[in-house]
Symmetry: C2
Subunit: 294 residues, 2 copies
C-alpha cells in the first residue's frame, strides 16, 4: 500500500494509473476506521482496480463548538486496517497541505440542507462539499463510496456530482451495524457504558417507525419516535423526521423514496441513524392528494 | 470539427481522447467570436492535441438588469470562425442541458470580488466560477485559455483552480486590440458611431496612467484617469483603479504585480480594459512602508 501526503504526488500517481487504463475507486474518510469504512473499501474492489482511501479530518465541516480538536485520530491503526481491507493507496494530507491559505472559492450547498443535521450544523455541508470537490480533483476517481449512515451527506454529494457534472459514480453503501444494531461510527467511542447500551434505541426507534408507517401513519410517527427515545435513553432528541429522499422535503404522493432519520445528543456524542424506504407509502398510483405521512 | 451539444457525448469523446493519450486544450466562450477568441484558439494549438471551444451564454453570470437576452449570438458565424482558427470540437449546450433543474450546489467566490466589476456585478463571479466548474468537468482540459481583457475573471479562475486543486493549467492571454487600441469585446457591437470613436480613450487612459505611475504617482493617478475619461468620452466612468494583481487589494511594497483597470458605461455597453504591470513600482527591495501608489 502506497502512503502519500502530498497533493502533487497523489495527482501524479493517479495520472499514471489513468494512463495505464486503471479504474480508480475512492473511499474518503476522516480516519479512525471501523467496519463501516472497511466495508466501503471491500465494496470498492468490485468495480475498481486502484483503491484510494483518504484520511483527513476536515476543519471546514466542523462548527466552532463541535469536536474538531477531540475527533478521534489513530493513523497507525488506520494504516493497518486499510491495508488489510485491500486499499492500494492511503492519502493523508495535513491541514496546511489542503488549506495552505485563505480560500478564494468555496462550494455553497443551497438545497437538501434545511432539514436534519443541516439545520443545527450550519455550514457543515458547505465544508463537506468543498473538501470533496478538492479531493475529487486530487484523486480523480471513477467511483466514490460513502456510507448511508450519513444519508444527508450522500444526498448532498449526489447533488454536488450531478450539478457540477463530475465524471464520477457515487455509490451509497448500506450502514454497517454492531451486533445489537447500533450504527457504526467513529464517534461511538465518546459514549459512556450506560449511553452505549441506550444507543441501541436509535436503531430500534427506526424499526418501530417503519412498522408504524406500514400500519398506516396518521402523522404521529415522528412524535411517537421522540417519545420512545425520551423513554429509553438519557439523551436529548435533536430530531426524528420523515422526509422524501434525496430531496429531504416533506413527503408527497410523488415521493418515491422516504427517509426516517433520527439524531440524539448524548453527553459527549451526537449520534445519527436512518432508514431509507422505497415506495412503501406514497405509491404513484395513489389517488390521494397528500401522502399519509405528514 | 466535431459539433456537440450534449454533456454526455462531450464527456464520452474526451474520455476516448484521454485514453489515447491526447492533451486537451479548452477555450470557453460566450460566442460571438472575435479575433481575441481566435487568438486563444491559435495559442491553444501550441500545447494541446485536441482543441475544444465551448459556446454558452451563461445566465448565472448575468444580473437581473444586465444584457443576457440581448447578448449577441451568431452560432453559424462562430462555427466557421472556430473551424478556421483550428478548433477540433465545438461544444454548444443549451441552457436546459447545463441547468436542467434548480441547483443543489453553486460555487461562491469569497475573495478578489470586492473591487472592480465584482463591486457592481454582485454574484457575477459566482456564476462564472460555477459554470466553469461544470465545463471543466465536462471537458477535462489539461490547459484552459482566457483573455486578460477580463483580468478579474482570470484572477478568480486562478483562485478557483488553485483552491479546488483542478489538475488544469490556466493560461491568461494578452488582450487583442483593434487597430486604434480598443480592446476587442463581443459587446463592442453595442456602441454607436460616436461612442466607438470615444471608446479608444479607455486604452489611452491606461497608457497615460502607466506613464504617470512611472513618473512617480503621488496617489492621484486614479483621479487623473477619471478626469481624462470624463473629458474625452460621453460615458459614465464606473471605476479607475490601481490594485495588486491577482489579489485585487490596495497595493503594498510587497505587491509584485499591479493592475490598472477601467470601466466606462456607454448608452448600451459597459466596456472594460486594463493593463497589468510587473514590478514597476513596488519593488521588494524598497524600504518604504507603503507603496507610492495609494
Amino acid at each position: 500500500m502506497k502512503q502519500i501526503n502530498s497533493i502533487k504526488d497523489m495527482q501524479k500517481l493517479i495520472a499514471e494509473e489513468k494512463r495505464a487504463g486503471k479504474v480508480i475507486g475512492f473511499v474518503p474518510t476522516m480516519g479512525y476506521l471501523h467496519d463501516g469504512h472497511l466495508s466501503l473499501i471491500e465494496r470498492a474492489k468490485k468495480e475498481s482496480d486502484v483503491i484510494v482511501v483518504s484520511i483527513f479530518v476536515n476543519p471546514l465541516q466542523f462548527g466552532p463548538n463541535e469536536d474538531f480538536d477531540r475527533y478521534p485520530r489513530d493513523l497507525e491503526r488506520d494504516e493497518k486496517l486499510a491495508l488489510k481491507a485491500g486499499a492500494d493507496v492511503l492519502f493523508f494530507p495535513d491541514t496546511k497541505e489542503m488549506y495552505p491559505k485563505e480560500s478564494v472559492v468555496t462550494v455553497s450547498v443551497n438545497k437538501r440542507v434545511d432539514a436534519l443535521c443541516g439545520e443545527s450544523r450550519v455550514g457543515h455541508f458547505d465544508g463537506v462539499a468543498t473538501v470533496l470537490t478538492k479531493l475529487f480533483h486530487i484523486v480523480s476517481p471513477d467511483y466514490a463510496y460513502f456510507g448511508l449512515k450519513d444519508a444527508q451527506q450522500v444526498a448532498v454529494i449526489e447533488g454536488l456530482v450531478e450539478d457540477f457534472n463530475f465524471p464520477i459514480n457515487v455509490i451509497g453503501c448500506e450502514t454497517k451495524r454492531e451486533v445489537d444494531g447500533l450504527a457504526m461510527s467513529s464517534r461511538n467511542v465518546y459514549l459512556n457504558d450506560r449511553e452505549r447500551q441506550e444507543a441501541v434505541h436509535l436503531n430500534a426507534s427506526l424499526i418501530k417507525a417503519e412498522k408504524w408507517l406500514l400500519e398506516g401513519d396518521s402523522g404521529e410517527t415522528e412524535q411517537k419516535m421522540i417519545k420512545y427515545l425520551e423513554e429509553h435513553t438519557s439523551g436529548v432528541v435533536d430530531y426524528c423526521k420523515i422526509l422524501s429522499y434525496p430531496e429531504l422535503l416533506p413527503p408527497t404522493p410523488q415521493s418515491k423514496r422516504l427517509i426516517i432519520a433520527v439524531a440524539v445528543k448524548f453527553s459527549n456524542a451526537r449520534l445519527i441513524d436512518n432508514v431509507i424506504l422505497d415506495n412503501i407509502l406514497c405509491r404513484p398510483e395513489s389517488e390521494e392528494e397528500t401522502c399519509s405521512v405528514r
